[in-house]
Homo-oligomer: 367 residues x 2
């Protein structure tokens, strides 16, 4: 990758969407529709350059966008495509600045493609990085907000022409609250843009290189399939992860409450895990994996379910009885594991006060 | 009243609040707290002039404001006082205009005082009129929206510092939807300002003279009490209404759903109505009165419950078993009875498809 980055080609979109689905840790929505939409734009001549944050001037403005709503809805309610673009234009106007680049709130799931589509519509580049390095269910759960991004002005747009600006908002939790209920009003599928951030701030706080990471994971999956290799093993190797469980789903519970899909899945072990039982807690994403009652992986580390035989990432909304699943764990980026970050994206933030975060990679956590 | 109107004096505030409570037809929230707040402002030197819409230049901008939220909450959650003022400033900025006067969305209940408080804080006059001539539960139920006011930009502000701008909104129903859920997030008590309207439009569409009407009704109530006259009879005479029922409340049901207080009250007749039973349907306000199963008064005409012995208006949230009540009917303004208006504020709009509106005053309805 040169300093100027690279242009996304049509052939990149499928692997990007596969890698993004995997990094979605079961949530983030399926990127397939966004991939198709972006493919249309590329075929019509759109060129989006993926650039490292380092290539931007310190005082350039970067706008973080993402779709907001419950992924369960996302399956049936197809976004019109311009939601994030219109939300970005509204924050540009509200903040009185000109945006130079887009960045993804979350690389995991459909929000990997959202800023790329908005960038294509705006004729802007997209920064190689994001605010989560995975997917999380709530707006404030980004490294940007954890490290001090302003909660306002932000804006949300739908497919019908509605645009709502969060002009003054006390903090990121209030932004999440307002954006969530307005997105539910909008039919639980809308585009959210947060206040433009300066490039030097984005450089310090974004999880770096995640667009390229998703692309590389997706390429490995496709390559392994072509070569008839074991996709799960190949993904574990490419992503630097570890296999934690293989099993068959015996129970799935999901409820759509307050704009979130909450629930859990129970797996009965197969192969090396025969006789064991695993449980995965879900709030849009996979939050915690217990194996035989012992916590094995927990947020912010990534819990990824792959179809055991094909290596296909399984999103929480398509989990079903009888599926054979490999559960792999990937270490979260260090920016998500500081004490400040764990306050927002650690197990306690998700309602598990009894769990103390133990990082998968065993590395000490910076203060 | 001269062309230039009159300044509201401290002694006007109590009668204004009494008259406004009565015009609230059981809803609109209790104006008492707003009255106390405005009294403080007047004592500190605030002067608010009540002006006829005719005194404004055609192209002056008028801003309609009102509190939004469930009145049941309003009892306990006291507004900070600057909500409507901050919402007005936000729409001024969003619309890029300078507002010359405030006007009330609804003269009935606490929203009689809201624009007056905002006007005091802004140093502006308030127009003698409003968008309902009474109270209604939803944002779009004003003569302004019925006759074509724009749904955006509008803004909502709370007591904590949050300001949300509805920048582009498809129509007034979407505005109601967004404003309602954001107001619930804000704790079900917030100030809403709608897009500034030109004075010539306000002149054509506002229910005229309602601030003065509320003031005069309140003065009659106070005067009747001083003279130990029958307050109910005096109010009926002053407001041009008719007594429809006297009874004792035998059942009240109220539920707070989706930001509204919905329910009904059952009354067992006394005096001339002994042996009869009345039922009043409620959605924040009194919607329909049935006497012995026959519809007697229905929206948009006003159904007002007064305490039988004191003539005190009874809001729906304080209705209780055993209260002795006089139910009076007041004719709505003609602007609320056109076919276009009945679409929005007639019985069908409130979920009574079986009821055809029959006006209390028997006057033909203009097309």
């Amino acid at each position: 990758m040169s300093d100027k980055g690279y242009i996304l080609k049509e052939a990149d979109l499928l692997p990007l969407s596969i890698g993004a689905a995997l990094l979605g840790t079961g949530g983030g929505g399926n990127p397939y529709v966004g991939m198709l939409r972006m493919r249309e734009l590329v075929r019509k001549g759109a060129e989006v350059r993926v650039i490292p944050a380092e290539s931007l001037a310190d005082d350039a403005w970067v706008c973080e966008v993402g779709g907001i709503g419950a992924p369960v809805v996302g399956i049936e309610k197809i976004e019109e495509g311009g939601e994030c673009y219109r939300a970005m234009r509204a924050v540009e106007e509200a903040a009185g600045v000109k945006v130079s680049a887009m960045i993804s709130a979350e690389i995991g799931g459909s929000n990997s493609l959202e800023p790329i589509i908005a960038a294509a519509l705006a004729g802007l580049p997209v920064v190689d990085g994001d605010g989560m390095g995975r997917a999380f269910p709530e707006v404030q759960m980004t490294t940007f907000f954890i490290y001090g991004a302003k909660a306002a002005p932000a804006a949300i747009a739908d497919d019908k022409g509605n645009v709502v600006v969060f002009k003054e908002v006390i903090d990121m939790f209030w932004l999440e609250r307002f954006a969530r209920t307005v997105s539910v009003d909008m039919g639980a599928a809308a585009g959210l843009a947060i206040a433009p951030m300066r490039a030097d701030f984005v450089r310090r706080t974004a999880v770096p290189g995640t667009v390229t990471q998703a692309l590389n994971i997706g390429r490995s999956v496709l390559d392994a399939r072509t070569r008839r290799q074991n996709v799960v093993q190949r993904v574990v190797a490419e992503a630097g992860g570890k296999l934690f469980f293989t099993g068959k789903i015996t129970d799935v519970r999901r409820e759509l409450t307050g704009g979130f899909a909450r629930g859990h899945a129970i797996l009965s072990g197969v192969d090396a895990w025969a006789g064991s039982e695993a449980r995965i807690a879900i709030q849009n994403e996979n939050l915690v994996l217990w194996v035989d009652g012992v916590p094995a992986i927990m947020v912010p580390d990534l819990i990824v379910n792959l179809e055991l035989d094909t290596g296909e990432p399984i999103t929480t909304e398509v989990l079903r009885y009888g599926q054979r699943v490999a559960v792999i764990g990937l270490p979260a980026h260090d920016l998500l594991k500081t004490p400040a970050a764990l306050e927002i994206v650690g197990p306690r933030a998700f309602g598990y006060p009894e769990l103390t975060f133990v990082p998968l990679d065993g590395r000490p956590i910076a203060a």
